[in-house]
Symmetry: C2
Subunit: 434 residues, 2 copies
């Protein structure tokens, strides 16, 4: 048996154990910031991979293959010999005993970092979930890819014009970044990628609608950019409905109050809820289920427990909450890693966490995007170029950067999407057609 | 509505309708050979993609992403304006009415080409299927990838040494090309790719066994190469058992007669059966369910129905059957395409189909393979180099060739596998561990 730090009684067994729950942007940042510190670390995740979520919609719309935006956590953290990765589910947290109960065992901790992020929410309408899948995991992306690609196949087989059109109607609920990105990419898929591939139906007859309950798209952006995003979407052929609430969803379409829109494919990009792990900590939660933390991101009664990323409710000096975006999670992870190091050195608690807004980006389509950096506002091609560079730069792993660049260059010149592969069962198939 | 040939009453409606069932190597070859002929064509497949099956084991063992070896049929056939692709299931064939019943409608044909290939068979032991998945589709490959990668995760969580080792025991049943390729790649995964990624368990303790009921591996090759393949596998750490029949398989392992081998991961590469579509044609079948065709690959009573590829039972002049390999399917497809063209021109039936053996290749691992071209026999690095070039050359689509080359170069230098991504549910998880 080779020397393995955690098996070896001589080394490090008496070092404090830092347990990190979640291998997203926040959890990884903690692990990296603590590399070489006098701690043993365990990182637990339900999945074996870190996911570059900002590009997940490209897997869902057949532009990228899954391995291009996902990397095994073990591989990312391989060099940290004092860190153990475990694939497991968290069942419970006992903050007084300092224990986390997993599906396959219990772990004691000296310090705990909870970074399990958020999940999607249907605002009390969980019955809509089967008809309007949301996008959070790779499995979600595969499901959406399958539904979207098979909708065009159903349209090709269908002879009744109204039923055919229902298969060509796509509805995206929610006008945040994900909704805008999905709607724009769907419109390009229908108008640029697919037309020459079908004989009986015409993909260009696809109707893509984006429905937002609030008064404008991309509420996190400046109103000017919301308007620009709308115009760019409309140029791609997307019908944008703001100030419009969805009141019902079923397999055949949606209701907007009295109005009925027939559509066989509805995608949900409207609601986000904090990870259910927040409720296990016995700490106060905000309305969205996020954990209210102290200025140093620890729990009020438990300075040894930190909550970071989408799961943490942190106020900025301007009174607004820190947004649930990847850079914020990363900054919180780095902050907590530094805070733990300071404590190990017997130093005082650091100054409160401060979020540095690096800007906001949302892409709409080929050469269409909006970007906001402080007072600088970009749209169209310049915003798209910034988006492209930023996303390639932040993608984890040199190989993935290379592959994604190749894929995008290919897609840019050919309008092809190489990941137009359907696997799994077609769960939208109708028994009555058999 | 744009001009679409099949919608346009002026054009081609009175041309004969050639219906092709299956978009594998055979079906695609027919479609391509008939491009520009005075026929209307429809190609029906259950899946939306052509699959480069010779490399499927690389998706199963996390070396390649699915889109690298699969391409949408619509995209491949886009330029053939007189060809319609339909995604559908075949329910029945009525050769007297010249009709094929699909799950979503019925198609009349003037000429029918059945190219639906083969599926795996458990020789009357279908109860083994859940414990020993086989490799035929992309979904199969994802299932195997999930089981293999999660087995190492289970081993990492397991504290009991015997149970841990059971998760590190891998059994491959069947010593043909697929079995040899799977066993060799698994051994490399355990010994080269994973060791540095685990802390509590040691992937190098994995045991990979290859079990073949017949007297030697790779029965389609010269006995010398069978022996070379065995030696190369053993050098990689694979234990090879020939002349050994599996008598029982369950979730905990397999029985070889009186001997019990505990193993949580068993892969099935032993049996192939013809597609069930063969039984719908009312023609005589051989013992493996393949359709006995005339020398021109048509049915005895129905000269307008052709059967090609793995589903066809064709004798060579030397008395041996044409093997169920991709080049044979391709050659049959080209032959039938030419035969249909000849008939349209009122020419005589062509000379009987003759299989040209282009050689056989099987890869074992990095720089390890066997190859046979007539009397030329290669093994080790030269065979591997030929294998590499041949597979890159035959991969459909320039982009895929490029991506696969990049992936392989990357894997070669780093021993990494970029597709080590688990999605879907872990169906091997034990309730008693919860």
């Amino acid at each position: 048996m080779p020397n393995r730090p955690t098996d070896d009684p001589d080394t490090h067994a008496n070092w404090p154990h830092v347990l990190i729950l979640g291998g997203g942007f926040g959890g990884l940042a903690v692990a990296r910031r603590l590399a070489g510190a006098r701690v043993r670390m365990t990182l637990v995740d339900r999945r074996n991979h870190h996911l570059f979520q900002p590009l997940l919609y490209q897997v869902a719309t057949a532009s990228l293959a899954a391995p291009a935006i996902a990397a095994p956590l073990r591989q990312i953290l391989r060099r940290q010999r004092d860190l153990t990765v475990l694939l497991d589910d968290v069942i419970g947290v006992d903050t007084s005993a300092r224990e986390v109960r997993l599906a396959h065992g219990t772990l004691h901790y000296d310090m705990l970092v909870v970074a399990t992020g958020s999940t999607h929410a249907y605002f009390g309408h969980d019955e809509w979930a089967p008809f309007a899948p949301a996008l959070k995991t790779l499995d979600d992306a595969f499901l959406i890819r399958r539904r979207v690609l098979l909708a065009f196949e159903h349209a090709e087989r269908e002879n009744d014009p109204a039923r055919r059109q229902a298969w060509l109607n796509f509805l995206v609920v929610g006008g945040g970044s994900t909704g805008v990105e999905l709607a724009g990419t769907l419109a390009e898929l229908a108008r640029r990628t697919l037309p020459r591939d079908f004989r009986r139906s015409d993909p260009r007859r696809a109707s893509v609608r984006l429905i937002e309950a609030g008064p404008r798209l991309l509420p996190a952006f400046d109103p000017l950019l919301s308007e620009r995003a709308r115009r760019q979407l409309e140029r791609l052929g997307v019908a944008v409905h703001t100030g419009t609430a969805v009141t019902h969803i079923d397999a055949q379409g949606v209701n907007l109050g009295d109005q009925r829109l027939p559509a066989r494919t509805v995608l949900w990009a409207a609601g986000v809820a904090a990870s259910p792990l927040g409720r296990m900590l016995g700490a106060p939660l905000d309305r969205a289920g996020r954990v209210q933390v102290r200025p140093d991101l620890s729990l009020p009664m438990h300075p040894e427990v930190f909550v970071i990323g989408d799961l943490a409710d942190v106020q900025q000096p301007n009174g607004k909450p820190v947004p649930g975006v990847a850079p914020a999670a990363k900054q919180m992870g780095e902050y907590v890693g530094a805070a733990i190091r300071a404590r190990l050195d017997g130093k005082d608690s650091p100054t409160p966490f401060r979020y540095r807004d690096a800007g906001s980006l949302a892409t709409i389509g080929r050469m269409a995007a909006v970007a906001q950096f402080g007072r600088l506002k970009l749209s169209g091609f310049p915003a798209w170029a910034v988006w492209l560079l930023a996303h390639i730069y932040f993608l984890i792993g040199f190989r993935n950067r290379l592959v994604v660049m190749l894929d995008w260059a290919w897609a840019y010149w050919t309008h092809e999407r190489h990941a137009r592969i359907v696997s799994g069962q077609d769960e939208t198939d109708e028994a009555e057609n058999r």
